[in-house]
């Protein structure tokens, strides 16, 4: 069976789903396609199944919080979710990015395309607070089930303990009743 030649993902996507593609960016040999969040599942099906693209491996789903930087035309919303795809046949990578607003933070799930996205999306819900519609099991993954807040957001404090010096040693020691000094 002849193997189709690799085709340009941007052109192919623009031809198939023209209203989904919002922008393209190339930086250090990496192509990023910015896509409309509501159509992410169709985009993923196209990228995975089209001959010549065959991005059959989902490497990573990462979320970025752009707070407190003001919205620019480049980054219209607070959150960005990046899907990193890899094609085993053509050995090339692609990034598909969607922007998610803060007050309505939800994206359709891609677990129907790759079941491996299950835990990646759960982690993003846990850490960033972006909800994935249609996900079979949207619970917290890394933090305890009754934890408040989404730790990887930029306005979430690091939660560090003041370093113990001699002037505040006694006050900090009150938090450590079992410490024998």
């Amino acid at each position: 069976m002849p193997i189709a030649n690799a085709i340009d993902p941007v052109e192919s996507l623009k031809a198939a789903l023209p209203d989904a593609v919002k922008g393209v960016k190339i930086f250090r040999d990496e192509t990023t396609i910015i896509v409309d969040a509501a159509q992410i599942e169709k985009v993923m099906h196209h990228l995975r199944d089209t001959k010549g693209l065959l991005y059959n491996f989902l490497s990573d789903i990462s979320a970025v919080d752009y707070y407190p930087d003001a919205s620019t035309p480049d980054r219209p919303e607070r959150f960005g979710v990046s899907y990193h795809l890899y094609s085993l046949l053509y050995s090339r990578r692609l990034r598909v990015k969607v922007f998610v607003p803060e007050d309505d933070a939800h994206v359709p799930t891609v677990t129907t395309v790759w079941p491996g996205a299950n835990w990646l999306e759960r982690e993003i819900w846990d850490m960033m607070g972006i909800y994935f519609d249609g996900h079979p099991d949207m619970r917290r993954l890394l933090m305890a089930q009754d934890w408040d807040g989404h730790p990887h957001r930029r306005d979430y404090p690091l939660g560090y303990e003041t370093i113990m010096f001699s002037f505040n040693a006694d006050e900090i020691a009150k938090f450590k009743p079992a410490a024998t000094n």
Partner: protein, 423 residues
């Protein structure tokens, strides 16, 4: 005056509050037979001898047979990604060491490659070769621990002691290079921390001479052992396309026959110069994944031998003083060196406000590092996609229909490290 900045302002009692849920929470996650009590829900808790760390598995058992296996991770979640956001790029390397603690060099590599890609920093050829040698040594060390603990879980206890004896040799070499047995933070953005000391190459030669016979020892112990084969063949079978869809990578994927090794497909750090094979399995069961890793010992040795033969001369770290601090000797001679030194050690270097993604082949699979800079000296976001994370999520598929004793073998064969999955 607030002494501790606690994110959730509940009282102290809630910190030690109960963490068990109710069975209702599991509706939909486990089969309906569990709700009526026909099958048993067993907690293979975070503290367990065979779970390779703090992994909690909620098993739904029909007698001894597993119907559903729900992993619950997060008991080792250290917030490394958030901590890195408040450190400069050079200081963050030490934090990345501690994610996959069995092969710290691979995590360092992923992060350093991402920083170098983001800033456009060059890496001299000597540093690339040294990095390859260290990465392959780290791979051998990690596979030794894997083999020791996997065999220990299945009852073959003497393999554990033999593997750790070899590992001591490798850790001695790491100590020569970086001063620390594990967690050396030897790789830095731009190259490596310091040059190879004089006694490194003779020790490495001695190791390379001894090690093949030791690998043969392990093979003799386990490869044709009828007990081992009985317990591992046909267990935890995963088909190639299913494995890809679940996100498995590395030797666990190659055990199913998928020929994907990042070192071959998208080589980095000079891997294209070395000749090595990629061992593949056939059936995708525990035995194949085990045998793939045993063969990887030999392949890593091949790469080390080739790399050792021609280590290029030249600098061991990039000379770009905007990113790499100058050596101490230069500080007495040049004003620019002092200024660079001061700027880099107080503030650190800046990286553009862009995002990159880099993947490396760690002993467990593909570590992906997503790095987004701010234009300033600290990253905006670092995200690591770690192989153990994906493999633990695949446990449900892998272990359905097997017994608990088989589950122990399956967990060993996918080679998880909880620091890797929880970060």
């Amino acid at each position: 005056m607030t002494l501790t900045v606690r994110p959730n302002d509940k009282e102290k009692e809630n910190e030690l509050a109960s963490w068990e849920g109710s069975v209702e929470e599991l509706r939909g996650l486990v089969s309906d037979r569990a709700m009526t009590g026909e099958t048993m829900l067993l907690n293979m808790g975070p503290h367990h001898p065979s779970t390779h760390g703090v992994l909690r598995l909620l098993l739904e058992l029909d007698g001894e047979e597993i119907v559903t296996c729900l992993p619950d991770i997060g008991y080792l979640h250290t917030g490394i990604e958030k901590n890195i956001e408040s450190k400069t790029y050079e200081k963050a390397v030490t934090l990345t060491d501690r994610m996959d603690y069995l092969s710290p060099m691979s995590n360092n590599m992923a992060f350093c490659l991402a920083v170098e890609k983001l800033t456009g920093l060059d890496v001299p050829a000597r540093a690339q070769t040294i990095r390859v040698i260290c990465l392959e040594l780290s791979r051998i060390a990690s596979h030794l621990v894997w083999l020791g603990t996997h065999a220990l879980d299945m009852g073959a206890m003497s393999v554990f002691l033999y593997c750790f004896r070899e590992r001591e040799m490798i850790l001695d070499m790491f100590e020569m290079l970086s001063g620390q047995r594990l967690m050396g933070s030897y790789f830095r953005p731009g190259g490596v921390w310091r040059d190879l000391p004089a006694e490194f190459l003779p020790t490495l030669q001695k190791f390379v001479d001894i090690f093949p016979s030791r690998v043969n020892d392990y093979e003799t112990l386990l490869k044709n052992n009828p007990l081992w084969r009985d317990r591992t063949e046909g267990i935890g079978v995963v088909e190639p396309d299913e494995a890809l869809a679940l996100g498995m990578t590395g030797p666990s994927l190659r055990g199913s026959g998928v020929n994907w090794d990042i070192r071959k497909a998208t080589p980095y750090s000079g891997y294209e110069q070395y000749e090595f094979n990629v061992p593949l399995g056939e059936h995708g069961d525990v035995y194949d994944r085990f045998y793939v890793r045993i063969q990887e010992f030999h392949e890593s040795l091949k790469i080390i031998k080739q790399a050792m033969k021609n280590i290029p001369g030249g600098p061991f770290r990039s000379e770009n003083r905007k990113f790499v601090p100058p050596p101490r000797a230069e500080l007495g001679r040049s004003m620019e060196a002092v200024i660079h030194h001061f700027k880099l050690w107080t503030e650190g270097f800046s990286a553009p406000d862009e995002e990159v993604f880099v993947a490396v082949e760690s002993p467990r699979g593909e570590i992906g590092c997503y790095l987004h800079g701010t234009g300033g000296t600290k990253p905006r976001r670092v995200h690591f996609k770690t192989p153990s994370f994906m493999h633990i999520s695949a446990l449900n598929k892998l272990s359905a229909g097997h017994m608990i004793a088989d589950l122990v073998g399956i967990i060993g064969s996918i080679d998880i490290v909880l620091g890797d999955s929880d970060r």
